[in-house]
Symmetry: C2
Subunit: 219 residues, 2 copies
């Protein structure tokens, strides 16, 4: 039996958390209803896009009244499976891994980092506040015992594929990869990449063009 | 005068840094030529996509021989404006800002963080190895004097818009925003967002569906 007969485009799935984030801010501000126009302005998409995205999941909002913030937020959270918090394994306890382990913005948004792991004996045992760095052997045990399905990979590029293979072998199905390399995974495993340098480079493209143009204009 | 009469889709511009990153690894490994097929497998896109993306910028590669790695890498770097390194201002010296300041992967890929700034008097003066945290007043001076066009924003969501406004006022045209909020900028300013929680949530969508399905299957 298939739960969702309509396949939702991944680009829509990727926008839903942004809607949820923005609705959560509105709720915190005590705002009870919001039009697709207002929500779109906050998020940087058109009102039509929001209406189209949400139409995959049913009927929300009323013409002229807008969306009820709490109701829509609750519904998107259910769609995203965020009614409970998700246990997450963090691999890599270098500078970046340490910052991720200490970042408070995960737990407030349903992401519960339950273990930090590193294969460097100098890092194992390190106290990161709420968590102590553990070895890879402990990682496998924790993933098995707690049925962990999500992991964050913050190891050097040269180690990323090996770490991902190990995570997948133990049943991890969603990986947030900070290593600047595209990792290979079998079907049914999701990977999202974060590469700040690549994002900066996609902007230098435009800036370099502007500067070239202004040099030409000045001639 | 317009330098590039053809408008390149932003999605293509965003893929170019990934091609460059992968080609740089190939070059390091001493590999001299690569087919669009092999490059695609490393990056997770089809060979046809690579050929189409690169066709915006001219003719590369020969049927049956593939792309010359160094030549294509050099060309993509020129397209991206990466022949020189870019000076970048980093705003925010909390846990995340400190990790960014210390991360060595920026300078090796043409991104030179030239200043770290925070408005917290307790953080100003903090030694981050190569850089000392400075005040926002110093930030404005540095951006003006060094004509900085790129910035990384790693401040709390509540401060992000104000920081971005100040950066834009001083001429910054590209912003990598780590704050979990969509910031508003005038036309001609580029923003890329990094929100690890939103990326994780876009995977919980699929995982929650899988688990619901397996529960049903077991009934």
């Amino acid at each position: 039996m298939d739960i969702s007969p309509i396949t939702i485009p991944d680009v829509v799935v990727r926008r839903l958390p942004i809607y949820a984030r923005s609705l959560a801010y509105l709720a915190e501000e005590g705002i009870e209803s919001v039009s697709s126009q207002e929500l779109g302005e906050r998020i940087g998409v058109t009102a039509a896009q929001i209406r189209k995205d949400l139409s995959y999941f049913g009927e929300f909002g009323k013409q002229g009244i807008g969306y009820n913030v709490e109701y829509l937020l609750g519904h998107i959270r259910r769609i995203l499976g965020l009614t409970d918090s998700w246990p997450v394994a963090l691999v890599g306890a270098g500078q970046l891994g340490q910052a991720i382990a200490r970042y408070e913005g995960f737990s407030t948004r349903g992401i519960n980092i339950v273990g930090v792991f590193d294969n460097d004996p100098d890092k194992v045992g390190m106290d990161l506040g709420r968590l102590i760095v553990q070895s890879y052997a402990e990682m496998a045990k924790l993933i098995d015992n707690q049925h962990i399905r999500l992991a964050i990979v913050a190891v050097p590029a040269s180690q990323a594929q090996q770490v991902v293979d190990q995570l997948v072998e133990h049943g991890v199905r969603g990986i947030l990869n900070y290593a600047p390399i595209v990792v290979q995974v079998p079907d049914g495993v999701w990977v999202r990449h974060i590469d700040p340098v690549a994002l900066l480079h996609s902007m230098t493209y435009y800036l370099a063009r502007e500067e070239a143009r202004s040099h030409v204009d000045q001639q």
